[in-house]
Point group: C2
Chain length 464, copies 2
């Protein structure tokens, strides 16, 4: 029980309980109000919440209750809630909106959020929706949708504050007060030349302290990073992270400013990219937490089918040695150890490599050095575990040769694991694909096949 | 080759080539200048770079050349570069600094960056360093180091802009112009009561547009999130992400403002936490990309030892069925398939669960629903693959009973995999530990043991 008598839903941290709007009590009370169809109570419960917390509340409900809550809230459901929803949940809720309601939601949102919502609709739905949007906005959205998916153009807000470089501080201040198109909150004013190319940025806090006759070019910071509108959002995130940016102007191909990207959007991108890397390494295509069972099965099936094929490949390798296994059944008992150790050691290297590639820390310049290091680590670890498993196998089956065979197989497989753990993601990356996709299944295929082949093959030569 | 004749080190993306300061050519030229001990050339090469890019340059070099570059740059090495270095590399470079040089570096940094540097030093080094720091700063650092590791107190900057709630906009503007302690750039001014408790925030951009006689309380946004100084940085990151914050005041236990956390620091925390989750799932303790071989082996060894033990456990299970395997060697050939499919299906569920726990999306309220879903997914996938593998095994070994046995084992193991994939991280989380640590090794232990036991045990009953 926390300070406000609420039990927090999500962690056991007292601090967060006070600061995070969603509580277990709130979820229960919402459920009760949904059951009683009590609109007034629902409104009362949800009104004090941040849109992001309302989104979490929707996600804490079952699919059935989500729709009921949406219907009961009706117009009282803030448009911004849709921005914070998980994609699968958002899709379900949007499906329940009629054309008028959807138009209303889109019109209430900032341009970047609206684009995020529209881009997920099917093409006919997009067209139908855009027809009902005011001309000026429609043009903006159509332009944004014209940029490649996951590009800066999709991410940027079209509302930004820019001033001509010939102005004095006083003119900038007056402009801020009167201009209608200026966003309500901003961090910096972009200073642009006559051709609309950004030259620098004047922080609002700096402008505050500057006397009116000073030229804006005197107080602007000239080091701004210009984001080309077609840049991939992953690269945008890299630049924000690398240079600690809070906002950056987006430019068209002629170098003219056409929008702005702010750090809060980039935080979402960073989250997304991280999630993708992690899920791909785990063999899941998308975060299917909120997906229906059928969709979840579909999203995981292809990976499992691939795994079945590679597992059968490993079994075929074992099949070559049936005669040997029949004679020395200890081989069957011990063989999974070699494969398992190779798989785990390789996964360690693979994880480091995929992460380093994502962080742009694994480059052609240092690849050779790091490959060498991983082979060395694999070899040394291999020798340590070889001695250990040699002794264990010797005492277990009272057969020194089996101990020696499994020891040698262990060294070889851990060497191969280290090598494969870095070369596989490097090769996939070089081919222009995402090194997180498929690399773990490729890796365990290699370590399984090499592990079984080396152990059983060596046994066939030495023991018979 | 890019627009500026440079080949980019890190990606094949033309956009990024123009915006990212570090190029392969630059690395090569730096190496040449280090070889020639040409200080002037080095200074010329490094001067135009952002500190973050200089840090990347250091990291692109071998350990030996890093130290040489540091020595050659001497006083021309910006203190901020240390902030951007990977921990292992930073430690190496700091070890080369004498006491005076280290004091100089710390004095040049912002308070939050200085604390980040100091907290990594050994205790005696910390004490020796702090003795040489000016009194006022030393007090700040000692206070910060008094807060728990990874808490808001370590993360916050002590320089912030606050104004009393009784002021008019004009007073705030005058204060901004004259006060010496105000940071050069800021986004908002915190409005505080007479007890120094934050009441709201006035954006600098808002203040710019306000006439002097207006009260600051009229233009402040009252919805601010106050960060308790002892809050864990992971929770801080959650709040920034959840509410799209750019900066937030940090308060002491009496609710008084004592510092500010800005989003750029939080981006680093988000990165760190993501990295940790990913590495832990991959069975690596720390990002050891820049660690020496010996340290890398040490960091990976404990995991591999644990894996050896669990692999031996699985082998012991197989050992129970030596007599059966000797008679029907097909069992040895097929058994890794059941274990491997269970391991992969379980890893999929595990990845989704760990991610959902980290995002606070898996809660006591929806856990039961999601467990049910995972069991259903596991069961249905299990039945599909059971039929497939049954047919394959039947044709491979011309024995229907073996097909049926492996089919049943597959269903059971995929059911167990789905269940274990969510229950293991939930249980670890409930016990107050990090669900990413150790969960994958526990999972594969379960799926290996159940897979072998179910397949071989069933075979022992049915076939003999």
């Amino acid at each position: 029980m926390g300070e406000f008598g609420n039990e927090r839903v999500v962690t056991d941290d007292v601090d967060l309980e006070i600061l995070y709007g969603l509580t277990a009590d709130l979820v229960r009370e919402t459920l009760a109000a949904i059951g009683a169809q009590d609109r007034a109570r629902l409104k009362e419960l949800i009104e004090p919440l941040h849109a992001a917390d309302v989104a979490d509340l929707f996600q804490a409900l079952s699919g059935y209750n989500r729709i009921r809550l949406e219907k009961l809230l009706g117009d009282d459901l803030e448009a911004e809630v849709f921005v914070h929803l998980d994609e699968a949940v958002r899709e379900d809720l949007i499906d329940e909106l009629n054309a008028d309601e959807l138009v209303k939601v889109v019109n209430e949102l900032d341009s970047d959020d609206a684009v995020e919502l529209i881009e997920e609709l099917a093409e006919e739905e997009q067209r139908a929706l855009l027809e009902r949007i005011p001309d000026a906005d429609r043009l903006l959205y159509e332009q944004a949708l014209g940029y490649p998916e996951d590009s800066a153009g999709r991410l940027m807000r079209r509302e930004y504050a820019a001033i001509p470089s010939i102005w004095k501080a006083g003119q900038a201040i007056d402009f801020m007060r009167d201009a209608p198109g200026v966003p309500e909150n901003f961090y910096g004013l972009f200073v642009v030349g006559p051709d609309n190319k950004p030259l620098g940025v004047v922080m609002a806090s700096r402008l505050l302290r500057t006397h009116r006759p000073v030229a804006v070019t005197e107080i602007m910071a000239p080091e701004i990073r210009l984001i080309p509108v077609t840049m991939d959002q992953e690269d945008v995130a890299f630049l924000f992270r690398q240079y600690g940016l809070v906002e950056a102007p987006v430019i068209d191909e002629d170098g003219r400013i056409i929008g702005v990207i702010t750090v809060d959007d980039v935080v979402d991108v960073i989250d997304e990219e991280h999630e993708e890397d992690m899920l791909k390494l785990g063999g899941v295509a998308v975060d299917d937490l909120y997906e229906a069972v059928a969709d979840t099965i579909r999203s995981r099936l292809s990976w499992l089918v691939l795994n079945l094929l590679t597992a059968i490949l490993a079994s075929i390798v074992i099949g070559f040695f049936q005669a040997e296994i029949e004679k020395v059944v200890a081989l069957a008992v011990l063989m999974p150890i070699v494969a398992s150790m190779g798989g785990n050691a390789g996964t360690q290297t693979l994880t480091i490599s995929v992460r380093a590639l994502a962080m742009k820390e694994l480059t052609p310049d240092n690849a050779l050095r790091i490959v060498g290091k991983e082979v060395l680590v694999g070899g040394i670890n291999g020798m340590a575990f070889a001695m250990l498993i040699c002794v264990i196998a010797y005492f277990w089956f009272d057969d020194l040769m089996i101990g020696i065979v499994i020891g040698i197989a262990m060294v070889v497989n851990l060497l191969v694991a280290g090598l494969a753990g870095i070369l596989i993601p490097l090769a996939i990356n070089r081919a222009g694909a995402d090194p997180a996709v498929g690399s773990s299944i490729l890796l365990t295929t290699v370590t399984d096949v090499v592990g079984f082949l080396c152990f059983l093959g060596l046994a066939a030569i030495v023991l018979f």
